[in-house]
């Protein structure tokens, strides 16, 4: 789990928050309501998750409930991996 978290954090920082201090991005930082994940970023993230973890994300899983924070994304990926 920690592995996924750190990989995700690194990806988000490099792709969507270049130059941002890593300590500002926490596991529960809101990603959608804060504007970090807009529609394009969401699509990029989905492609990243599918390729990196070999999981299939459904369209309705692009909502806040599933990808609203790093913690939510980790839960989503883990549930897919364990299924």
């Amino acid at each position: 789990m920690e592995n996924i978290t750190s990989e995700l954090k690194a990806y988000i920082l490099s792709e969507f928050l270049p130059g941002e201090d890593a300590s500002n991005l926490e596991d529960d930082t809101p990603l959608i309501s804060s504007g970090i994940l807009d529609s394009l970023a969401t699509l990029k993230l989905v492609v990243f998750l599918e390729e990196k973890y070999n999981v299939k994300i459904a369209p309705h899983e692009t909502q806040e409930e599933y990808i609203g924070s790093i913690a939510n994304i980790v839960t989503l990926v883990e549930s897919k991996l364990s299924a």
Partner: protein, 834 residues
């Protein structure tokens, strides 16, 4: 679970509660004083405030359901029992289908079939025996909410509760706002009391206040800034035209703020519907900031599912195709929404051009962002002069492009829109220098603002209910309340007093009033823009308003007069009989030649004089004739006949051939009834005549046409603009021609202005017309204060029809009778008694 428990245990805080109630009391007062929206909104705002006061004490587990019940009660209060029972029954059937144990595809099939049946009724393909008033509200409740509800139902881990479903579909204050944001069902239920409740309530109050401010600013734009394309005569007019069109959108953002603010009062901690959209720095940014709920709805239900299906084509292709489909659907949904609200499905080139261009711009911008990234960060941004200048310039360019695009969306014609830009050729060096100075000032202000806020305004970084103190809201509420009091705002001088008086008036602007008047006789009025308030007025208008199916009263003459009323016709309207005599007058029968000792008056007028909306014996003309004869019968052998040659829709120039026709009746007097916008209406008729290649039999008119250089192949806006400088000359020519003809007929001419049922710009233009009539030699009869002491609701036929009603006609008759009998020699050319 822990969170839910902590929320359930949120204690009652009396001070905060009282503070919220006091703010709501201010809001209700302001809504009343500034006539925000309509009377129904005032009622519902009281309803919501009282509802909130009770809701606060309801245990959390019952709050959703109680909100649903309150929303249903609100619907019943506003719509009445019959309409609300129809709405409740239809929604209940839909909910039964949604919540049944059927397979999802069967549910979708049934819902689609049911919607099809409703659409057949809405389109009047089959008669609907219930009240028509339910359609806009029912449509508003279901047209998008049902789509998102079904989508969430498909993917939900558990079926929503009955209380959630009821609360979602009836959602207060939907019953008074048919144009309603597309609230997402998941967000609606998940946001319910997901934070400290007093903070959620306070955000609600803040947003209602903000919404009211948007609406008040909108009114200033609506009344003072909005101009028509034909008014654009200089570069500054062009700027005013372009910006005012876009600024009129403040009405939508204002209403949406109020709506979502009201939902916060019942614990729905929803996000903003609009976020500083005038400060968008790119087209994608604009799409994300304006009507956020719409964007989210389209993303969730269409964009992501389409993208996921296409992503095997590659990221770029999938994004481009998905975006094109989303913008096409947005275009189609605009007409779909219009269908449910108005019963028509407009397909308009302006919509296609607007959404097409915006879609292309968003695609280009998206691909750019995909390649370069947005460049954002979490901490408060430190602005350098360079970054500030770049950002501010981007904001200004985006604003300018959107204004231009928006104006094209609102334009009547492509050529008319293009013709406005010719004024840019008139730019002088001093104007360019002035514009550059304003731009420099804007950059400096932008930089100072950015330093002051120390945070990004580019990212839409709203975080929900915040800890900020509500002092600003309280100050604004107190200020607006105090400034709504006449004794206070009149102390600030006439300019401020007039501006506030305007802000307090919830009436139609000059442009919309003109469009409304035009719409009495023309079906082609473009009220398909949510920017204009007129669509709401028309939404309330019954489809068969004053129509006589199969019995059109007009007889087309094929000459300059164009039409007259059919002879010896009687048709039934909802106001009673409309009967014409053997000469095609809405009047009693008269012989061709008057009997001895008869003073014969010819009345020249339009719809009011014809008696549009009143019965045969309720027209002011008929009543006046009868009253005058009654008076004469007491001491004179004379009688009076008033021959009413008016017809609905007549414009000033048409009165010339009418007067020529009237010669055969050998009148003694001509009474000319003028309307408020004589010059504009005269020019408009000449323009129509040229456009329709009607033969113009008057050399004077042909001369004006030639001077204005207008031809049939020209665009309407261009013609209107070309005729503008000749309007006064045109009316002066008409009045002089009428005077010459009257002199030849040995008739005396009386001119009177029939005042509008409410104040407006017609009062200013009326002064010019009066002066021209006086110069031409008319006797002027003043009816100026005839409606004094009555409100527009007392004397107008309806909100969508400002013709005087029965009382209005009675008042007009009283006014005319008083003036005529006060100076009979002047207005009748004789004494009343022998």
């Amino acid at each position: 679970m822990e969170k839910a428990t902590s929320i359930a245990l949120q204690p009652i805080k009396w001070l905060k509660y009282i503070f919220l109630v006091v703010q709501l009391a201010f809001i209700v007062f302001i809504v009343h004083r500034y006539a925000i929206e309509n009377n129904a909104f005032f009622t519902i705002m009281i309803f919501i405030s009282v509802g909130f006061m009770v809701h606060y004490f309801i245990p959390i587990q019952h709050r959703m359901f109680s909100f649903g019940l309150l929303s249903m009660a609100g619907t019943a209060v506003i719509m009445g029992w019959e309409s609300s029972l129809w709405i409740f029954s239809i929604v209940a059937v839909i909910l039964l289908i949604c919540r049944s144990g059927l397979k999802f595809s069967y549910k979708v099939g049934l819902i689609l079939a049911g919607s099809g049946v409703l659409a057949v009724f809405r389109a009047d393909i089959m008669p609907f025996y219930g009240p028509e008033a339910i359609w806009p509200i029912l449509g508003s409740m279901l047209m998008f909410r049902l789509i998102t509800f079904m989508y969430d139902l498909k993917h939900a881990k558990k079926i929503p509760t009955f209380g959630q479903s009821v609360a979602y579909f009836f959602m207060l204050p939907n019953v008074v706002f048919p144009l309603f944001p597309v609230v997402d069902f998941t967000n609606f239920t998940r946001s319910h009391y997901n934070g400290e409740r007093h903070k959620i309530y306070q955000v609600g109050v803040d947003w209602i206040t903000r919404g009211i401010i948007h609406l008040l600013i909108y009114r200033i734009v609506y009344y003072y800034m909005a101009i028509s394309p034909s008014d654009v005569a200089s570069p500054s007019d062009l700027m005013q035209y372009l910006s005012s069109n876009f600024l009129l959108y403040l009405r939508v953002s204002g209403l949406f703020h109020i709506i979502v603010g009201c939902l916060h009062l019942f614990g729905f901690n929803l996000q903003e519907t609009h976020h500083l959209y005038y400060l968008s720095a790119s087209f994608t940014d604009f799409w994300r900031r304006i009507n956020i709920y719409w964007k989210d709805f389209m993303m969730k239900v269409f964009y992501y599912p389409i993208f996921f299906r296409l992503k095997s084509l590659g990221m770029t292709k999938a994004i481009v195709i998905s975006t094109i489909i989303v913008f096409f659907l947005t275009l189609a949904f605009h007409s779909y929404q219009w269908f449910w609200l108005r019963g028509q499905f407009p397909i308009i080139w302006q919509d296609a051009v607007f959404w097409g261009i915006l879609g292309c711009l968003v695609i280009i911008n998206s691909l750019w962002e995909l390649k370069k990234g947005k460049g954002q960060n979490l901490a408060a941004k430190v602005w350098s002069v360079k970054s500030s200048v770049i950002y501010s310039t981007k904001v200004l360019l985006t604003f300018t492009c959107i204004c231009t695009l928006w104006s094209l969306w609102s334009a009547e014609s492509w050529l008319g829109w293009l013709s406005m830009f010719k004024v840019l050729g008139q730019l002088t060096y001093s104007e360019i220098f002035f514009a550059l100075a304003i731009f420099a000032g804007y950059l400096i202000c932008g930089y100072l603002l950015q330093i002051w806020t120390r945070k990004r305004i580019a990212g839409g970084n709203y975080k929900g209910a915040t800890d900020r103190r509500p002092y600003t809201t309280v100050c604004l509420l107190v200020l607006m309340s105090v400034m709504s009091i006449g004794e206070v705002y009149t102390k600030f001088g006439p300019d401020i007093a007039n501006t506030i008086a305007t802000m307090r008036a919830g009436k139609l602007s000059k442009l919309d009033t003109q469009a409304l008047e035009k719409g009495y006789y023309e079906e082609l009025v473009r009220v398909n823009r949510f920017n204009s308030q007129l669509w709401e007025v028309y939404m309330k208008k019954p489809a068969e308003w004053l129509q006589n199916p199969g019995a059109d009263l007009k007889y087309y003459t094929g000459d300059f007069m164009q039409y007259e009323l059919l002879k010896s016709t009687s048709s039934s309207t909802q106001y009673g009989l409309m009967t014409t005599n053997q000469w095609g007058m809405r009047d009693q029968e008269y012989p061709l030649t008057a009997k001895p000792n008869t003073l014969r008056i010819i009345l020249l007028g339009a719809s009011i004089e014809t008696g549009w909306g009143v019965e045969d014996d309720e027209t002011f003309e008929g009543m006046l004739e009868s009253e005058l004869n009654q008076l004469l019968s007491k001491g004179s052998k004379n009688t009076i006949e008033i021959l009413n040659l008016s017809a609905p829709g007549y414009k000033p120039l048409q009165q010339l051939p009418v007067l020529e026709k009237a010669q055969k009746f050998h009148p003694n007097m001509i009474y000319y009834a003028a309307s408020g916008r004589e010059m504009m209406r005269a020019a408009s008729f000449l323009q129509e005549s040229v456009k329709n290649a009607v033969d113009i039999p008057y050399p004077g008119l042909r001369d004006i046409v030639s001077k204005a250089n207008i031809t049939a192949d020209m665009d309407a806006t261009v013609m209107e603009k070309a005729l503008m400088p000749y309007r006064e000359e045109l009316l002066a020519w008409l009045y002089n021609e009428l005077a010459i003809k009257a002199k030849n007929m040995r008739c005396k001419l009386v001119w009177f202005l029939v005042p509008g049922v409410e104040g407006g710009d017609w009062e200013t233009t009326a002064e010019q017309s009066t002066e021209l009539a006086r110069q031409a030699g008319f006797e002027i009869l003043n009816l100026h204060n005839v409606y004094q002491g009555y409100t527009v609701n007392d004397i107008a036929l309806a909100e969508w029809d400002k013709h005087p009603n029965k009382l209005g006609h009675r008042l007009l008759m009283d006014g005319l009778f008083k003036e005529i009998t006060g100076s009979p020699e002047r207005y009748l050319g004789m004494k009343i008694s022998d």
